[in-house]
Symmetry: C2
Subunit: 224 residues, 2 copies
């Protein structure tokens, strides 16, 4: 590998870590906005989404430049292609955090509803997954990537529990339907952030081990 | 462009058209399974998802080989990178069709619920978008791509109507909650298939015009 390519790869990794940090923070703020009924935090997430979108374009541009300039092969080529895919996943996670913030803003205008507090554990887990999947990529840490894939199953279970609980709430008090449907959306958006983190982790395993686990996960839980 | 590269690009386009056709059919069958309560169609979609996943790996493999072998630059490089992204979108659309089929299978076991018929128009529109976005890419047809982007707004509106209607149904008859929540999921999955088609269309515009419309669509409707 040329020194020039090596230097550019380091820059790319730093950009990814920055973008990962932005998505992690957006997820964190959006969920706090739901749980603690903080409209100000929801608005902070909504304002910050453009910065994540711009970062995506920056990373994509950098990848294209590196492909054209260095014409990398083998491992370096696969790494850059993986970064392109991960970049896409990160931007969508940012969108989902924005979707959660939008639900939070709506929920803040309505009376509190039982169930919002129950997202605390799920949110904590998803935030960790976002952090870990990017670390796994930058460090090429397959063990960490595999742990992220396992955590996804627990988030799926948690999502299922939220769906069951919220259906119960709606059945016993139909006046809660609108708010409960907003919380269903929050649950699903969180679960999808975890899915994207899992995609990233699977790409890391594929990058390092050349193993296509993403289509072999027979036990992968399906979305409700 | 070398003749060899040109030939490989043609093969790639054909693979994309095949994969687009598979996703279109899966979406079609999954929605018929919901509307006409056809468990057999739902099962056909579930069985077919592996083939879409395999096709994704095939296309990705082909793209990586072309990048390493031909070391394309400029337009050809951007085209191959776009195909990699579109390939990812198509695979996720296939997953969403599978998610719809899973909901259909559950709904078939339960008494009919008002509202399933209302998906017909939305489904028709989404299926067209899947078809058109791939055509737009293969033909580099920016006008068609822009039409797909406009259609997305109508699907978003339709999704919002489905949400409003289904909330009404649940409020007036709490015994419908479980089935209505399944239909909410169907609506959202359909809307997300349209979102992916829009991503593809935006990538086509970016590829041909170099214009980043995807982050400039201020009017883009947000998910409920």
């Amino acid at each position: 590998m040329t020194k020039h390519l090596q230097r550019d790869l380091e820059v790319l990794k730093k950009q990814l870590l920055t973008m990962g940090g932005m998505v992690e923070q957006a997820t964190d703020l959006a969920i706090s906005a739901v749980i603690d009924r903080r409209r100000d935090l929801a608005e902070q997430v909504l304002r910050g989404d453009d910065a994540i979108d711009l970062k995506e374009l920056e990373v994509e541009d950098e990848c294209l430049k590196m492909l054209a300039l260095h014409q990398p092969v083998a491992t370096d080529l696969r790494f850059i292609i993986t970064v392109l895919k991960v970049n896409n996943d990160l931007e969508r996670m940012g969108d989902l955090a924005k979707n959660i913030a939008e639900r939070a803003a709506v929920l803040c205008e309505q009376p509190p509803i039982a169930g919002a507090q129950d997202f605390r554990r799920m949110a904590e887990r998803v935030r960790n997954m976002v952090h870990e999947c990017i670390d796994a990529l930058v460090e090429r840490d397959v063990d960490l990537a595999r742990r992220v894939c396992l955590e996804d199953k627990e988030v799926d279970d948690e999502n299922r529990r939220r769906f069951a609980d919220l259906q119960q709430v709606m059945q016993s008090d139909p006046s809660t339907v609108e708010r409960a449907v907003s919380l269903l959306s929050v649950s699903r958006h969180l679960e999808r952030i975890a899915d994207h983190a899992t995609n990233v982790a699977e790409d890391v395993v594929f990058l390092v081990d050349g193993e296509v686990i993403r289509h072999l996960r027979l036990a992968r839980a399906s979305a409700p």
